[in-house]
C-alpha cells in the first residue's frame, strides 16, 4: 500500500477506535443506571464491539481485539450490568484507549492486557470460552536468568542455554557476580552467578521460554519484551499548535481579503464585456476560496458545547463507585458550537462541581432512605444559549450546603455575619478564596471548598454564578456566560431585501402560503390555520420596524416555529439556504436587543440578524397581537 494511504488509514483507524470506545463507554454508563435504555442500545454496542474487534486485528492491535471479544463474553446475558462488571469493562476500555494512543510500552501493555482479561473473564457468561492472554511476540528481549545455587547438581549448564539463545540471533550477555563468596567459602559445585541477556530476534514468547523448560524448577526467570515485533506503526499526523493570536490574525486576514474582493466589484463592472466576464469568473473563484478559508478557520476555533461535558458521565460513575453511592446523571446540552476557549475553561469547574456533588452533596443510600429520599441521588445538568448568554444549570438533590459550618468559617475569617445564613450571603461567602483552604475540607464537609477556583474560571470568561441551596434538598448552581460567537445551524429567510436568520432547531415546518384565507384575525390577534390548529402569527415586519407589506402576500412563506412547547408562525417573503453560520454577539460593543440572539455572518460576507424565537413570542404577547 502507498505509505501515505496507509498513514491516512491508520489515522482514520485511531479516530474511529476512540469514537467506538467512547460510544461503548457511554452505553456501559447508561446501562449500569437504566436497564431499559441500555437494553435498547445493546444491539448497537455489540455491533460496535464486533466491528472494532475486526479492524483492530487488521491494524495490528490484537490486544484491542481480544478485549472486545472478552467484553462480548460479559455481555451475553440480557441482565443489567453489575457495578463490578461495568468497572471491569470501563477499565478495559481505558486500556484500549491508551493502547490506541500509543501511551504504553510493550511490557506495560502485556501486563495491563493480562490483568484486564483476567478481570473480564471473571464475569464472562457461562458457556463462553475465556480469552487467554496472548502469545506475546517481540523483536528485542531481555532475559533475567538467575540459577539457584544447586543448579549444577543435575548436570545443567548455563553456557549451553546461552549458546542456544545465540542460535536465534545476536545476544549481549552481562554476568553479575555479587553473590560470589570469599575464596575460602567457594564451592565449585554451587552456582553463584546470574545473567542478563539481551536478545535481538523475531520470535514468540513460547519459543524463547522453551529454552529454559528443563531448568525452570532450578532458576528464577524473567523474560520481557523490549521492542514489539508488531509492524512499526506509522507516526500519526503531526499536531500543530495554533495560538489564539495566530487564529485571530488569520481570521482578520480572511476578512480583509473578503473586503478587498468586494471592493473590486465596481471596478470589474467598469470593464469591457469580454474582460468583465473573464475577471468575474476569477472573482467568483477567489471568493469561493476565501469562504472556504473562513470556514476552515472557524472550525479550528469552535468546538461542540457537549465536549465540555463529555467526561462527566464517566466521572460520576467512577466517583460514585469509590464512595459507594448511587447517582444518576441527567444531561441536556444544546447542540451548538462555541469558542474553544469557553469549552476548555468550563471543563475544570464542571469537574469540580460534579466531584463535590457526588462526594459531599449526595448522601449514602442509607442516609437518603432515612431522610425519606429515593436511594439513588439525582444530578441534573443543562446547558443552552439564552439571548447572548450560555446558561448552565447544575443541580443535585443531596443534603445542600452545610450552613452552620459555613457560618462558623465565615466568623473565623472575620466576616461580619448574622446568625442566619441566607442564599445571598452564601453567594458572597462561599466563593471567597478563604473558604478553599485544605483544613476547611473537613470543617465544611467539603461543600463550598474550592468554589473560588470555579468562580475564577467563570469570571475570567466574563460570566457570573448564582447559587441556591436548600437544606436537605440540594444545591443549584447557575452559570451565566456571555457568548461572543457560536456556530448555529440556521435557516436564512428574506423580508423585503433584508436577510434574516432563524435557528433551525426551532423550525418545525415551512411551506408556501396557499391563500389569504389561511390567515385570519380575532380581535387584535392574527392567526394561521395549520393542520386544523390555530397558530398565532408574529408580525416580523413590525418587530423589525419595516414598512407594511405591499407585496403579493400569496407568494409568501409560512415558517412554523416551536419554542418552550409553544407553536407560532412567522411570514417571510422567501426562503434562502440552510447553513451552519457563525453568530457573533452584539455585546460587549453594544447593548442586548430583545428578540435578537446575535448577528450572523452570511456566506457572502454580509451580516444578518439572528432572531430569538422565544423572545419573538414574548414580543407578540406584549403587543397583544396585531
Amino acid at each position: 500500500m502507498n505509505p501515505s494511504l496507509f498513514s491516512a488509514a491508520t489515522a482514520a483507524f485511531h479516530e474511529e477506535t476512540l469514537e467506538a470506545l467512547r460510544a461503548i463507554e457511554s452505553w456501559v454508563l447508561i446501562s449500569s443506571q437504566d436497564f431499559v435504555a441500555g437494553k435498547n442500545q445493546q444491539q448497537e454496542t455489540r455491533r460496535q464491539l464486533h466491528s472494532l474487534k475486526g479492524t483492530a486485528t487488521s491494524f495490528g492491535y490484537e490486544p484491542i481485539s481480544q478485549i472486545c471479544h472478552a467484553i462480548e463474553g460479559v455481555l451475553q446475558a440480557d441482565s443489567q450490568l453489575a457495578p463490578q462488571q461495568s468497572d471491569a469493562i470501563l477499565t478495559a476500555l481505558d486500556y484500549c484507549r491508551q493502547l490506541s494512543s500509543d501511551e504504553l510500552t510493550p511490557a506495560q501493555s502485556v501486563e495491563r492486557l493480562t490483568s484486564c482479561l483476567a478481570k473480564l473473564n471473571q464475569y464472562r457468561q457461562t458457556g463462553i470460552e475465556p480469552v487467554i492472554p496472548p502469545q506475546v511476540s517481540g523483536s528485542v528481549w531481555q532475559i533475567e536468568f538467575t540459577p539457584h545455587q544447586q543448579f549444577f547438581e543435575n548436570g545443567h549448564d548455563p553456557l549451553r542455554i546461552l549458546r542456544a539463545l545465540r542460535e536465534f540471533g545476536p545476544i549481549k550477555v552481562a554476568v553479575f557476580t555479587e553473590k560470589l563468596p570469599d575464596f575460602a567459602d567457594f564451592d565449585p559445585f554451587q552456582c553463584y552467578l546470574r545473567w542478563q541477556i539481551t536478545l535481538k530476534a523475531e520470535l514468540d514468547y513460547n519459543a524463547l521460554a522453551a529454552q529454559f523448560e528443563w531448568v525452570k524448577h532450578v532458576c528464577d526467570l524473567n523474560i520481557e519484551v523490549l521492542a514489539s515485533s508488531q509492524p512499526e506503526r506509522l507516526a500519526r499526523s503531526s499536531r500543530y499548535k495554533l495560538s489564539e493570536t495566530h487564529i485571530n490574525a488569520l481570521l482578520t486576514i480572511s476578512q480583509n481579503l473578503q473586503s478587498q474582493l468586494q471592493q473590486t466589484v465596481p471596478l470589474i463592472n467598469q470593464l469591457e464585456p469580454t474582460d468583465n466576464i473573464r475577471l468575474s469568473r476569477r472573482y467568483q473563484a477567489m471568493k469561493r476560496q476565501q469562504q472556504l478559508l473562513q470556514q476552515q478557520l472557524l472550525h479550528i476555533t469552535m468546538r461542540p458545547l457537549a465536549d465540555a461535558f463529555a467526561r462527566l458521565p464517566r466521572m460520576a460513575f467512577d466517583v460514585a463507585q469509590k464512595t459507594q453511592k448511587l447517582v444518576q446523571l441527567h444531561m441536556h446540552i444544546s447542540p451548538i458550537e462555541l469558542d474553544s476557549l469557553i469549552i476548555h475553561s468550563l471543563m475544570d469547574p464542571l469537574t469540580h462541581l460534579l466531584r463535590n456533588a457526588v462526594v459531599h452533596g449526595i448522601e449514602t443510600p442509607e442516609q437518603r432512605q432515612l431522610a425519606g429520599k429515593a436511594s439513588k441521588g439525582q444530578i441534573h445538568i443543562s446547558a443552552e444559549q439564552v439571548d447572548e448568554q450560555l446558561l448552565i444549570r447544575f443541580s443535585d438533590d443531596g443534603r445542600g450546603l452545610a450552613e452552620q459550618q459555613i457560618l462558623t468559617k465565615a466568623k473565623q475569617l472575620g466576616i461580619n455575619t448574622g446568625d442566619i445564613v441566607n442564599n445571598r450571603q452564601l453567594n458572597e461567602w462561599i466563593f471567597q478564596s478563604g473558604f478553599s483552604t485544605a483544613s476547611a475540607v473537613d470543617d465544611l464537609s467539603g461543600r463550598g471548598v474550592g468554589l473560588d477556583v470555579v468562580k475564577q474560571h467563570i469570571t475570567d470568561l466574563g460570566g457570573n454564578i448564582e447559587l441556591v441551596s436548600t437544606r436537605g434538598k440540594g444545591c443549584c448552581f447557575t452559570f451565566y456566560i456571555p457568548i461572543q460567537q457560536s456556530l448555529v445551524d440556521s435557516q436564512i429567510v428574506q423580508i423585503d431585501h433584508q436577510k434574516l436568520v432563524l435557528p433551525l432547531l426551532n423550525i418545525l415546518d415551512s411551506y408556501p402560503l396557499e391563500s389569504n384565507r389561511q390567515i385570519w384575525q380575532r380581535g387584535k390577534q392574527w392567526f394561521i390555520t395549520d393542520d386544523n390548529r390555530q397558530v398565532p402569527l408574529v408580525n416580523l415586519r413590525k418587530f423589525l420596524q419595516l414598512a407594511p407589506d405591499n407585496n403579493d402576500i400569496n407568494s409568501a412563506f409560512i415558517i412554523l416555529l416551536n419554542t418552550e412547547n409553544t407553536l407560532f408562525a412567522v411570514l417571510v417573503d422567501s426562503l434562502a439556504e440552510q447553513a451552519q453560520l457563525l453568530i457573533k454577539s452584539l455585546q460587549p460593543h453594544y447593548r442586548h436587543i430583545n428578540g435578537i440572539k446575535g448577528v450572523a455572518l452570511l456566506p457572502e460576507g454580509h451580516l444578518a440578524l439572528l432572531l430569538d424565537p422565544s423572545k419573538l413570542l414574548e414580543y407578540f404577547h406584549t403587543l397583544g397581537g396585531h
Binding site: 473586503s259 471592493q263 420596524q545 460587549p588 460593543h589 436587543i593 448577528v599 454580509h606 451580516l607
Partner: protein
C-alpha cells in the same frame, strides 16, 4: 484647546463628517476601514445607523452629526470610511464613527491656545474655534456609555 481637553492626549486627528469637524484622540484610533455592509438594528436611535463586522467583532457605527443633532451641509457621497475607536488600552470594546475624510493632526500645544466653549451634550467634552470653524471633541468614555445603556 484648553488643558481640560488634552490633559491625557497629545495628538488629535481631525475628521470631517459631512461638513462638520471633530477631533479624535489619536491613541484611541485603532483602524480606518471602508464603511460597507452596515446592518441596521431594530429599536435603535437615528444616530446609530447599524453595526459592521470589523476585526472579527460586531461593532456599532455612530453618526456624530445625528448624535449632536447638527445639520451641516450633506455631501453627495457620504461616509465612505469608518474610524474604529477603542474604549481604553486595556478594554476590548470598540465603536466606529462614520467619516467623510481625515483632515489634519492637531497637537496639544496648538490646541492649548484655542478658545473653548462647553457643549450642551454629555457625549462631547468641548468645542473649539479653529480657523473660523467649530471643532467638537467627543468624550470617548461617554460615547461607550451611550452604547450600552438602554434605548432612548
Amino acid at each position: 484647546m484648553s488643558s481640560e481637553w488634552c490633559s491625557d492626549q497629545d495628538v488629535y486627528q481631525l475628521i470631517m463628517v459631512d461638513e462638520q469637524q471633530y477631533a479624535l484622540p489619536v491613541d484611541n484610533i485603532i483602524r480606518i476601514a471602508a464603511l460597507e455592509n452596515v446592518l441596521p438594528l431594530p429599536e435603535t436611535p437615528a444616530w446609530l445607523p447599524g453595526v459592521v463586522h470589523i476585526r472579527n467583532a460586531i461593532v456599532p457605527v455612530i453618526n456624530l452629526n445625528q448624535l449632536l443633532n447638527v445639520s451641516p451641509k450633506t455631501r453627495q457621497n457620504p461616509y465612505p470610511l469608518v474610524v474604529l475607536l477603542q474604549h481604553s488600552l486595556n478594554v476590548n470594546r470598540w465603536l466606529a464613527l462614520c467619516v467623510n475624510e481625515f483632515t489634519e493632526l492637531l497637537h496639544k500645544e496648538d490646541a492649548a491656545e484655542m478658545a473653548t466653549t462647553s457643549p450642551d451634550h454629555p457625549c462631547f467634552k468641548a468645542v473649539v474655534n479653529h480657523l473660523m470653524q467649530k471643532i467638537y471633541l467627543p468624550d470617548i468614555d461617554a460615547l461607550f456609555e451611550q452604547l450600552t445603556k438602554g434605548p432612548d
